[in-house]
Symmetry: C2
Subunit: 241 residues, 2 copies
Amino acid sequence: MEKIVSLQNSRVKKWASLHQKKYRDMYGLFLVEGDHLIGEAEEAGVLEALIFDEPCSRYCENMFEVTPQIMKRLSANVSDVHMIGVCRKKDQVSGSAKRAVLLDGVQDPGNLGTIIRTAKSFSFDAVYCSPDCCDLYNEKAIRSTQGALFHIPVIRTDLAPLIHELKKEGFAVTGTSLQESCPLSSLQKQDKMAFVFGSEGQGVSDKVLEACTNAVRIEMDGFESLNVAVAAGIIMYAFRG
Amino acid sequence: MEKIVSLQNSRVKKWASLHQKKYRDMYGLFLVEGDHLIGEAEEAGVLEALIFDEPCSRYCENMFEVTPQIMKRLSANVSDVHMIGVCRKKDQVSGSAKRAVLLDGVQDPGNLGTIIRTAKSFSFDAVYCSPDCCDLYNEKAIRSTQGALFHIPVIRTDLAPLIHELKKEGFAVTGTSLQESCPLSSLQKQDKMAFVFGSEGQGVSDKVLEACTNAVRIEMDGFESLNVAVAAGIIMYAFRG
């Protein structure tokens, strides 16, 4: 265990930089707060370091006791945070993947986090986000995953080339669209399936829809309006891994 | 059309009071902002009055032009609101109702609003909220309904007596629980069905579960964790009206 008292300490500066996306991308690391999330990170084996300013109930190989001032500098919350975990991003997909979710411009961090949580619960193997999706590693998105992001790879990438790659690997890639689509209850189960969900306002872009194998819609009556995380939940449940 | 210039005007005072729950309950009215929501209220016939400070694209029998100062006083947002609708709450359930959702202590306004939106999309007839659910008429909840709350009755009431009433009317009332429950895929469709969803932290309370006809769980593998609005979406889709 190491004790750090200076805000100028190089580790403190590196950790503080993780509040910015470019440094999270550069280091492949991000911060989480709260006992539940840190416990999930520990269990998933992605906890790189543990920072605390009060006696600490969790364990990790790299433990750092810091001053309350340093804790305040590192925390995204105003008060009452006494333990922060430094976590490694999980972004390797297993070669035997059979279920994937692709997100095309999802804007709301709560929706993104909820979709990742649902994907893990229904045994999906990966979540892919287009570059214009909101950032996954902001606090609201992380909290909405309820720790699932430590257990499922989440990868930011251009969707059209990815879809061509998935199709080559034998995936049926199904877009979601109210037009020119088959109803969910008539979509056949395949060995390898990927589903694409779009942004809250616009849905899946035409360019991405064109790259897909086919398209599906959820049957509704009259008031045709579903939140994207709810729609994703219904479809992932129907074709859970 | 009437023009109002004084913040002391009695109508302005009444409208401003609608930011507080007790006055919304007393008058049976609430405020909404934005063209989309006002359009939905108009279409549903629940728009009582329209307040604006710039030329207005919507119509209603009671139109009030106000000053920007009054608009600012009435709006929940900091800027850019030029039209506010005064709406009547919708809280009468049709006698021929066959699908109902019951919410036991749902805390998050976004989840509550999303469940109402989903219920309308899957042709449910009513949403009942326990007294300890969060308030429906706060801005975040209203926005999450995407206007569905103008089209489906939402009623705040004690759930245990309601469940007994629904059972007398021939409803199968199904609670959601991970324990002592049947998997969703084996639950039989009935003519009249009601589903109970619980709070984000605790789920459905024991007292309410005991009053139910039976209980159901959504099949998951390993990481058993679903957002309540996602769980509600999956079950309402499976038994849509």
